[in-house]
């Protein structure tokens, strides 16, 4: 049975603003699923709270619209319960880098086989435009009407030093490239982190800004196995802004280090009559 784009549509009306970068991310993700021909039942999408969070309503696969900031722990639980699922989290920059920040370094060093896509529009979209950890310094938002006083965070550098085994940046203005990134991330065994530059048409429209600056690491012969080089590229943020895969390495995933997970997924094990008597030895 082939999977088609049409099958991935849902009945929900899309409520993103016209021109929103989220549309491209949605398209790219659906295309990636089609190109990889992954059965719908095998995919679970976890979304945070924010404009990006509506993503799950718009793609006809299993989905979990969780509370603000908790995409990664939910994804981790799902993957442990059923390692055969393809588990992809979608967060916003607020969701991921503000309230949810603590989960990233830990998911990364754990190397759980979960894909994590951050819709980085550098703004809280759904709450009508406040500052986030990636809003550039000086930018005026509803909560910083006189300019953001804080230095922005560097998400790629953070993911890299946290030990993520796949670190990439996409741009919502380039669907084909993003589709490719999603496919690579899904094929990668381990934690895959993709920060997507996603213009917020309404509150922080960066289309032109990024379109003029982004270039592809693939085009410049970047060595994705070189950690130091990746880190250097993560700091390139001026006239030229790289997109593509910064770093990729194969390491044992968290699931692979757990012998309990060998064999059938936990969710499918027989639990009808567990013999606890073997634990009595500790109680006598």
């Amino acid at each position: 049975m082939t999977i088609t784009l049409a099958q991935l549509n849902t009945k929900a009306t899309i409520t993103w603003c016209p021109g929103c970068g989220n549309f491209s991310i949605l398209t790219a993700f659906k295309r990636a699923l089609v190109e990889l021909q992954i059965p719908r039942e095998k995919v679970v999408v976890i979304t945070g709270i924010g404009c990006h969070g509506k993503f799950g309503d718009y793609v006809n696969v299993n989905s979990f619209h969780t509370i603000h900031g908790r995409v990664l722990p939910i994804a981790t639980g799902i993957k442990l319960a059923n390692k055969e699922l393809i588990v992809v989290g979608f967060s916003g920059d607020g969701d991921a880098y503000a309230i949810g920040l603590s989960h990233i370094p830990h998911a990364a060093r754990r190397n759980i086989d979960v894909k994590y896509v951050v819709h980085n529009n550098m703004i809280f979209g759904l709450t009508t435009g406040q500052v986030t950890p990636t809003t550039p310094k000086g930018v005026k938002t509803r909560s910083t009407p006189y300019g953001n006083p804080e230095e922005p965070l560097n998400p790629l550098a953070l993911a890299l030093v946290s030990g993520a085994t796949f670190v990439a940046r996409g741009f919502a203005g380039d669907v084909a490239h993003l589709t490719w990134l999603f496919k690579e991330a899904i094929k990668h065994k381990g934690f895959a982190f993709i920060d997507v530059l996603q213009p917020c048409y309404t509150f922080y429209n960066t289309y032109e800004y990024f379109r003029r600056r982004v270039y592809k690491l693939e085009d410049v012969g970047h060595d994705i196995t070189d950690f130091e080089e990746a880190l250097k590229k993560a700091y390139e943020w001026n006239d030229k802004i790289p997109i593509g895969i910064f770093y990729k390495v194969r390491k044992p995933t968290f699931e692979e280090t757990l012998p309990q997970l060998k064999g059938e997924p936990l969710a499918l094990r027989d639990i009808s009559d567990v013999n606890i008597e073997k634990a009595y030895v500790f109680l006598r």
Binding site: I67, R70, L72, L80, N82, S102
Partner: protein, 581 residues
């Protein structure tokens, strides 16, 4: 009351092995056919300070330690200073002969003092100082003329991981034993004859909860350590390969609960255990479990609050918090076992209820229940069966598209896990329609709120129809009733024995299900009660407030204790005697 009641207390600094000694003695008596309740009292530090293990042994089932002790094992002088007042007339004290103290003062109080060269013997053996306690344990066996071999078998098993350590402790115990036999003879204090070992277990509330989870088919356990719940993690981490259960300690409690919810969403029964501060961090996700209708079992092991409070001391201060944690209104079970045995069966039950109703279930324990030892018969596994909820396995066969939140008569929608063929499982923490898509439609909101309300009504019925939701002990006809919940059960049941011996017959009403509250059952049970005495380990009488709220009835008398220490039976006895007067 049983013919034999023997209470011991072992005291020393943290690091002297007080807890281990107390536990080994408890196991010794249990293997010797007796019943024990043993409590460890320790401040929140790793070395130094003062720890003590305080336990009562009986030949019939016992539920709590008694205050007055027959035997004190003093590993340091501090123990004498702090606990002498607990010693019964003619009680014994084992004391290291290296310790300087005022012997005559002890004897003036009627104590029998046994100076034993704990340090001396350890030095002779070339062992670590901590081995002193094994000498003392051996000596205590001689004092009560108990079979030394039973103790030795326990030592061998408990310390058996490293054989040479086990053997040196065995040797130490033997020396302590012989020293007493030689100096004083056997059974100077009393004689407790071993009875047949009937395979009973010595178990803490924490271990019971862990075991309950395993029995219930829990495949994933997540926890961030927090006293007094951490031992659940330690226990499960230890047996993770034996039971093929994944045990993870994530970055914080928020991750913990969300991982558990994620895991059960994907089909793996999951549990978490924590205490107040960690539970506070979980509150947001508990509402998420309710809204998404994903089952989850949360163990809240209470300790003395507010805030960090006294982390290693007990309290029942979080009842209302557990009942109302998280924004909005939704059904939840809150269940409070009163002892370790109940904790096991109720934990299995908790998993079944969570899945049957697709709601969060909170199991309330406290430090006194979670960390104290109780002798219990091996569990009856026929009474602890896995009952799965309305789940769809393998393939969804429905003719219409699968709807995770399908409206049904009872409010419960058949639950498929992701990976199920033909089913796309969409769950949503936002208000949603039957398919799981978010919507803020007014009509839909009402339908969904009512769906959740129907579950609550069904849960209420479940509780009202369940014998275990409220238990009655003692004289069922008595117009005087003690009412309580959770770990106070132990002291109250012991008090009942004492009162009965004095010819005072009262009943004890233990409220096991706190949510939904068993209002109708309690109304019946309390109908003819004239004097209602509320016993709680807290400041405000929280169960009392529930009685007021649900039964429109206030307790007549209050016995509240909030210094971090559990009730002793005699405190309950005194209060009851005051009330009956």
């Amino acid at each position: 009351m049983g013919s034999i009641y023997f209470t011991y207390l072992i005291g020393g600094e943290a690091g002297m092995g007080v807890a281990a000694s107390g536990r080994m003695l408890a196991k010794t008596f249990t293997r010797g056919g007796y019943y024990v309740f043993g409590m460890i009292d320790y401040p929140s530090l790793i070395r130094g300070g003062h720890n003590f293990y305080h336990a009562t042994v009986s030949d019939e089932r016992i539920w709590s330690l008694h205050y007055n002790v027959d035997l004190i094992i003093a590993l340091n002088k501090d123990t004498l200073d702090r606990h002498l007042s607990k010693l019964k007339k003619k009680g014994s004290i084992i004391v290291d002969s290296d310790i300087k103290y005022d012997k005559s003062a002890l004897e003036r109080q009627g104590a029998r003092v046994f100076e034993i060269p704990l340090t001396g013997i350890v030095k002779e053996l070339g062992a670590l100082t901590v081995v002193r306690n094994s000498v003392a344990l051996g000596a205590s066996m001689a004092l009560i003329d108990f079979d030394l071999e039973v103790l030795l078998s326990v030592i061998r098993k408990e310390l058996g991981k490293r054989k040479e350590i086990a053997e040196i402790n065995v040797e130490a115990a033997k020396r302590g034993y012989s020293f007493v036999v030689e100096q004083y003879g056997k059974g100077v204090q009393c004689t407790i004859r071993p009875r047949s070992d009937n395979g009973h277990l010595v178990i803490t509330g924490n271990e019971a909860v862990a075991l309950g989870g395993l029995r219930a088919g829990m495949k994933t356990y997540f926890a961030y350590p927090m006293t007094p719940a951490s031992p659940v993690l330690h226990f499960l981490a230890n047996v993770q390969f034996d039971f093929d259960v994944v045990v993870v300690q994530p970055e914080n409690e928020i991750a913990v609960i969300n991982m558990a919810i994620g895991a059960w969403y994907a089909g793996s029964r999951s549990m978490v255990a924590t205490s107040g501060g960690g539970f506070a961090l979980m509150t947001e996700a508990i509402g998420q479990a309710a809204m998404t209708e994903i089952p989850v079992v949360v163990v809240l092991a209470q300790r003395s609050g507010p805030s960090t409070g006294m982390p290693t001391y007990t309290a029942q201060g979080d009842l209302r918090f557990a009942l109302h944690a998280s924004q909005g209104e939704f059904p939840r079970f809150v269940i409070a076992p009163g002892d370790a045995e109940e904790a096991f069966y109720l934990t299995v039950r908790a998993f079944n209820l969570a899945e049957k109703f697709q709601v969060p279930v909170i199991i309330l324990t406290d430090k006194h229940l979670a960390e104290s030892h109780l002798t219990v018969p091996a569990f009856d596994l026929k009474k602890a069966k896995v009952e799965r909820g309305k789940i769809i396995v393998g393939k969804y066969e429905g003719s219409e598209e699968y709807r995770r939140y399908k409206i049904t008569d009872d409010g419960i929608s058949p639950m498929a896990f992701p990976g199920t063929l033909n089913a796309i499982v969409k769950v949503n923490s936002s208000e949603h329609n039957e398919y799981g898509f978010a919507t803020a439609d007014a009509k839909n909101a009402e339908i969904m709120a009512k769906k959740r309300l129907r579950k609550l009504e069904l849960m209420q019925e479940e509780v009202e129809n369940c014998e275990e939701s409220v238990k009655v002990y003692g004289d069922e006809r008595s117009p005087i009733a003690i009412i309580g919940w959770g770990s106070t059960k132990g002291a109250i049941l012991e008090a009942l024995k004492i009162l009965e011996a004095k010819g005072v017959n009262v009943k004890f009403v233990q409220v096991v299900f706190l949510s939904p509250f068993p209002t109708r059952r309690l109304q019946t049970i309390l109908k003819d009660v004239r004097e209602l005495l509320l016993v709680e380990n807290n400041v405000t009488g929280q169960l009392g407030s529930l009685l007021r709220e649900h039964l429109l009835r206030a307790p007549d008398e209050y016995l509240l204790k909030f210094n971090g220490r559990p009730f002793y039976p005699h405190e309950v006895v005194s209060k009851v005697l005051e009330v009956v007067k």
